[in-house]
Symmetry: C2
Subunit: 158 residues, 2 copies
């Protein structure tokens, strides 16, 4: 069957691919930790990008965080990111893209009854050449918006 396909949003196509690298997590309530990470961004034939991410401990490879969701471009050049986390958190992030730089902040966060209370998240994503860098700031468990994660990943061969 010749399946009809709609192109991915042009303004976000620099995110497409598989990215791998390492990051550092820190927060006032935990010990600073390093992690390995893989990010996948792909096109499903619809006008958005699918996204999944997983991280692992550098010492024994045990799985740490993961998250999944979708990137959307808005008609006025904005960006929307919807995410689900296995920690029982969902996020709506909205923001802008300029060139290959994305600036996002949460406009809604909801959690399950048993989840830790996350209040706000901000994400900066920058792609330069074959390198993707991001930073995440988080307000959660009584701590105001504070730097939480930074990582550098490289685009992997297809």
């Amino acid at each position: 069957m010749n399946v009809p396909s709609v192109p991915p949003p042009a303004g976000l196509s620099f995110l497409l691919g598989t990215w791998a690298g390492e990051g550092v997590g820190e927060y006032p309530t935990i010990e600073t930790f390093r992690y390995g990470e893989e990010i996948r961004v792909w096109h499903t034939g619809k006008p958005f990008l699918a996204y999944s991410q997983r991280t692992w401990a550098l010492d024994d490879g045990r799985p740490l965080h993961s998250e999944v969701g979708y990137w959307r471009a808005t008609p006025d050049g904005g960006v929307e990111l919807v995410l689900a986390h296995p920690t029982g958190v969902v996020e709506v992030q909205e923001g802008e893209v300029a060139g290959q730089a994305v600036r996002l902040r949460s406009t809604s966060i909801a959690t399950t009854a048993t989840a830790k209370h996350v209040v706000a998240l901000e994400r900066d994503v920058d792609v330069v050449g074959e390198q993707l860098r991001y930073a995440v700031r988080m307000a959660a468990v009584g701590v105001p918006l504070t730097h939480h994660l930074a990582a550098t990943l490289r685009r992997q061969p297809e």
Copy 2:
């Protein structure tokens, strides 16, 4: 590397696998439609289940809806489901599991600025033998909670 792994939640393990089948969608604002569907539920080495779903048109195979997220079991025998939709919607669903029957209702729904307004969703999922059936009721775009989706899928060989 011998990667440490935590088992999946025992009370939800009947959902594990790849499921494929067909469904019917209806809603007061749209024409009734039939769709093909694949659901994947898998264990990542952490105490939850990862979930992805995609549907397609039966006539030409074009992609229709998709959604991704995670299933969590709570200590008191409850179920939590967090989902992201490429339509710009995120959901927190909470409910109960009895045997292989899950009853969920949305406790939080959030949408991006450009998304259609979804107010509530309820999901029934029942596994009998190798068959998974679900029904979804939705309140959205001014319509109160109304039957929206029903599908029957079969567990696929590994």
